[in-house]
Amino acid sequence: MRRAPAVAAVLLFFLGPLAWQALTSVWPEAELTRPLPSRLTLASYAGLGVPFARAVLNSILVAAGTTALCLSVGAAAGFAVARLEFPGRRFLLGGALAISMFPPIATVSPLYLALRSVGLRDTLAGLVLPYATFALPLTLWLLASFFRQLPDELYRAARVDGCTPWQAFVRVFLPLSWPALATSAILVFIFSWNELLYALTFISTPAKRTVPVAIALFAGEHVEPWGQIAAASTVAVLPLVVLTLLFQRRIVAGLTAGAVKE
């Protein structure tokens, strides 16, 4: 396989559509029928206005909430699974892995009824809990495997020095675990930012829509506003471009962590 043409083909296929979308977003709406734009404009971005800004804010809130919940709960459980003995220890990791494979549609109907009965349907807080179905297993696995890689002596030394398991976790292990916490946080943020089905099902007020829902339901009065859709998509992709460029190694390591060890 000759390298240069192959690399060019790969870049064209994977980045071409994104580049075309970015170009469409600055393409004057009236000129979309022409082969190329005669001038560039930010009108499509300006046209997005407050509703889409709300969606961005909603998405940030939900993703941040999910990340905070799953990291705090997942780090404690990951430490317990990696370092301590308790009944059901193996079951927790295996169960979490199985749960991460559940199709979300399988749990939508009872979750909808449950969220409605506690008044959390159509709220952003009500999205954080269901999002833990995919975010928590990931955090648990990444942190458990990180804590396992730390030397045994560390835990024993902490216990000899008089730490309870809880203190060993909070004072010794948690401060060391920031690389795994960072990887989990990035992945959980990306997955939450991208989620569609739960947000589409549980949120009905337009002002509470997240970015993927806003983009999926984007509709004009008569014709599809392709320029604005492209602008909204570009805004949705921007934080992901920054994250992938900055944390590429971390993301790849986190995604393939389970696969290498098998």
């Binding site: 549609i105 399988a106 992938t244």
Partner: protein
């Protein structure tokens, strides 16, 4: 408090959360599937297995099942077939190429579907300009393949990264030994690398087929299951039954059927993987 109990306390919130948002809801869906339950009528009545009897005779269910199976089989096969050469390319290439390839994976599926819908657009989409005459999303024959293309674009990078991790785990000595024994690059790849990569390939196939089988986002945004239900997968059918018709009983029956299919797919891949060891 003794150490064992402290450990249980540390693990309890995660266990309770997973049970509450995943295990209990799956059981609750099974319970709901035994009811006639129309949300707007506040009606809920136990009807035993009637919904499942209806399911067996429901042509729309069988058609959605075959659409989903076709989508899964073709998409996963294409992603593996393209992911393998891509992994080899990434194995030699630098970090920038890897970051470029990672980007489609990170893009929300709703966005990637919109992006491709624009490329497919019958009036002035880019693909239409390059190959006029094909209305990708309006014809039942091409619409499902358009959805498969979106899935391939978005997840081939993930497959390639899994395979790349497998490639990197192959010891250099083995490859060197093959070269010393006189094997050319092609022979080394097919007789040494590929067999050693088998577990990674199977694992990628396992992850991807479970994920592809629950496909929702791409099809919902591209076609909403149309034209004429040609792209209606099981998740789309269940979603419409639950949220558009408000039929929580039969919708839950469909959800249970999807769950059963996913468990069956997962277990059969695990059997194949288990035999490898």
């Amino acid at each position: 408090m003794n150490a064992r109990r402290q450990a249980a306390v540390l693990a309890a919130p995660a266990a309770a959360l997973l049970a509450g948002i995943a295990v209990v809801p799956v059981l609750a869906a099974a319970w709901l599937s035994l009811h006639r339950s129309i949300l707007v009528f506040h009606e809920q009545r136990f009807i035993g297995l009637s919904n499942f009897r209806f399911l067996l005779g429901d042509g729309r269910f069988w058609s959605a099942l075959s659409t989903t199976a076709y989508f899964t089989a073709v998409a996963v096969f294409a992603e593996l077939a393209l992911g393998l050469p891509l992994a080899v390319l990434l194995h030699r290439g630098g970090g920038l190429l890897r970051a470029a390839v990672l980007l489609p994976w990170a893009v929300p599926t709703a966005v990637s579907a919109r992006l491709w819908a624009w490329l497919f657009n019958a009036d002035y989409g880019l693909l239409h300009r390059l190959a006029p005459g094909v209305d990708w999303l309006a014809s039942p024959r091409t619409a499902l393949h358009a959805a498969i293309l979106v899935d391939v674009w978005k997840t081939t990078p993930f497959v390639a990264l899994l395979l790349l991790a497998g490639l990197q785990a192959i010891p250099q000595d083995v490859l060197k030994a093959a070269r010393v024994d006189g094997a050319g690059p092609a022979r080394t790849f097919f007789s040494v690398t590929l067999p050693l990569l088998r577990p990674s390939i199977l694992l990628a196939a396992l992850f991807r087929s479970l994920d592809a089988f629950r496909v929702f986002d791409a099809i919902y945004v591209l076609t909403e299951g149309g034209p004429a239900n040609a792209t209606e997968t099981l998740s789309i059918y269940a979603y419409k039954t639950l949220m558009r018709s408000g039929d929580f009983g039969y919708g839950s029956t469909l959800a249970v059927a999807i769950f059963a299919c996913v468990v069956a797919i997962g277990l059969s891949w695990l059997r194949v993987l288990g035999r490898e060891r």
